[in-house]
Structure formats: structure tokens, C-alpha cells
Symmetry: C2
Subunit: 196 residues, 2 copies
């Protein structure tokens, strides 16, 4: 039984790797069960033994995306000063948005991705691990008086949303109201204002 | 000449009205020069005398969207207390995002919409008028000490971006990290935290 379970796990990994390959070449729209099957020389019907369909595959890709973001955040997550750590975490977040636009779109705005409701083991998922880095640093900032006291959840979500908003509005060419010479430092200025 | 100019202006209005009708029925993807021409019983070729193409029409629609948002904001723009005014302006903004998702998407994230660089008369455009309501209230809050002093631009953009981020992440089902019972008041909590 253990042997079979490992076999299935390996098969799932092969499928996800093939999906990652396609996704990194052309985004979520070119990922299909048929193309994945072709790539690993498997029958499309058999894929459905491992994944319910494209939506299920996109969810697995999305986990990969969050893992990439989390891996990038980890090196700065040990910055001792929690406020500096928050700034660094947000900078990594913004760099990820700029350098991995396909993954960024997939995990934060692709309408085909539907995240399941949280369960008991959600805490170990890359999305939650990523969020918890921001959450812990915010909490610590407040406890140490480095951030005006207030609601830690509102602070964490506010910071994250502002970064997401800045990233989307900037990349979508919606920041014309901001003078050209302020654009480069805009995200940092916004962040520093929120973390005042 | 004046007569001709008025004629052309009326023609442009008719075209935009037809585009608005199509857009409100099915979003930007169903707006086309051909369908607009059909609706006003005009030849598609003649439309090009008034608009360079679909992108130009989407820009006009986008102005309409900003006008709608601005008209909704105006009634609360006379709230005397600037901090309460900011809260109200942001609430109107979020209600607009929820109630007019097509216009909201068009003006803030449709990749087919490319706003031109600002010119001397940009200040009278609905997008800039809308932004200036937020900007003025923020400035006034700072001058009156109702908002921790800081960079007014970072404050205005930060608030706007956070609202945009909350609206997009909520409507895209990306707020699973937030406990269910906090979702209803989330935008308001975030806003109050930023305006602390």
C-alpha cells in the first residue's frame, strides 16, 4: 500500500512538473490536460485519476507559485528588526510581482483559480506560511511599539493589500496621477507611510 | 464651422452612448466597432472618422466610468470633517467596485485600456477630479493634525491602493487567510488602520 501511495505521489509530481513547464512557457491559458498528457506521454483520461481537471492543476501550480514567493521571502525573514523585516518582506513581494508576473497573476487574480476554504491543515500550505511571515512581523512591531498600536489583522491585510494595489495599478499603467519622478520610490513611500 | 463642430460632438456622443449600452450588457469584450455601427445604423468605416478604433472607444467608456464614480463621490465630498470624509469617499469607492464590477475592471485593470500621459488639461478629466477628492481630504487631515503627519502623496496613494487591493483580493476570493467573521468589516478596519 505504501508503495502504491508513493507511486501515485510520484505520478502527481510528474504531472505538476509538466504543467509548470507549460505554464512558465505561456501562462495559465496554454495549460491543458491534453498538452500535459502529451508531454509526459500518458493518456489524457489517465490524468484524471490524479487530478479532477484543469482547475485542480491550476491550484497545484498556484501552490508552486506561493512556494516560490515563500522561498524568496525566507532569507529576509530572519532580519532581527521587525519593522525592517516588514519592509524587506514587502520589497521581496513587489520584486516577485514584477519578475514573475504570470505566477503573480495566477496566485492573486486569475479568475480560474478557486482556493478551497481553509481546513485544519491549511496552516502548512505555502499561502498561509507566506502570510504568516507578514503577520508575525506585524505583531512583533506592535508589541515592541515600532508601529502605532492597533489591530494587527487590519495592519497585515492593509499592508499586503496596499502592496497588491500598488503592484497592480503600476503594472496596469494606472498611476498617471502620480508625478513621474515619484514613481520609482512610490511603493516604498507608501509602505513607510502605512508602517509609520 | 461651429455648427459642424457641434454636429461632430453629437455624433461622438451617439457613438459613446451605443458603446455604453453594449458595455453595460456584456462588458468590454462585446464592444466592437461593428456592433456600435449596427446599433446606430451607421457604416463601420464612418465611425473611424470619430474614433481611432476600439481602444479609443474604451478610453471614452473609461471616462464615463470615472464620471459615474465621481458623481457618487460628490455627495459625501462636502462632509466637513476631512477624516470622516476620507472614510466616506473610500466607502463609496468600495461600493462602486462591488456594484459596478464591469466599470471598475475597465477603469482600473482592463489590459486593453491605455491611459494617455497627462497633459495640461488632464486636471479637468474625471479620473483626476476623482483622485483630487481623496488628495484634498488627505492634505486637510494632515494640516489639521487628524492624520499622523507624513507624505500626503504616499498617504493618498496608499489609501487608494489598499482599497483597490482589498476590493480585488476580496472579489477574487483571495482573503481566505482572514477569518470569516472579520470579512464584513475588513475594508473599514484596514482604512481606519491606515488613517490612524
Amino acid at each position: 500500500m505504501e508503495y502504491q501511495r508513493r507511486d501515485a505521489e510520484q505520478m502527481r509530481e510528474r504531472i505538476i512538473d509538466a504543467a509548470v513547464h507549460l505554464f512558465e512557457k505561456g501562462g495559465s491559458s496554454i495549460v491543458s490536460m491534453r498538452k500535459i498528457a502529451e508531454r509526459i506521454d500518458y493518456s489524457p483520461a489517465a490524468l484524471y485519476l490524479y487530478f479532477k481537471g484543469k482547475k485542480d492543476i491550476l491550484l497545484a501550480l498556484s501552490d508552486r507559485g506561493f512556494s516560490l514567493l515563500y522561498q524568496r521571502m525566507l532569507p529576509v525573514a530572519s532580519t532581527p528588526d521587525p519593522k525592517e523585516r516588514l519592509l524587506e518582506l514587502c520589497r521581496v513581494y513587489l520584486a516577485f510581482a514584477a519578475e514573475e508576473p504570470e505566477y503573480y497573476r495566477l496566485i492573486f487574480s486569475d479568475p480560474e483559480v478557486h482556493y478551497p476554504n481553509p481546513t485544519e491543515d491549511s496552516a502548512s500550505k505555502p499561502a498561509y506560511l507566506t502570510y504568516s511571515l507578514l503577520q508575525d512581523a506585524t505583531q512583533e512591531c506592535m508589541e515592541r511599539g515600532l508601529l502605532t498600536a492597533g489591530d494587527p489583522l487590519a495592519a497585515t491585510v492593509g499592508m499586503w493589500s496596499a502592496m497588491h494595489g500598488v503592484a497592480s495599478l503600476l503594472s496596469g499603467g494606472r498611476m498617471h496621477v502620480v508625478p513621474q519622478e515619484r514613481l520609482d520610490s512610490l511603493a516604498d513611500d507608501v509602505l513607510r507611510f502605512i508602517l509609520r
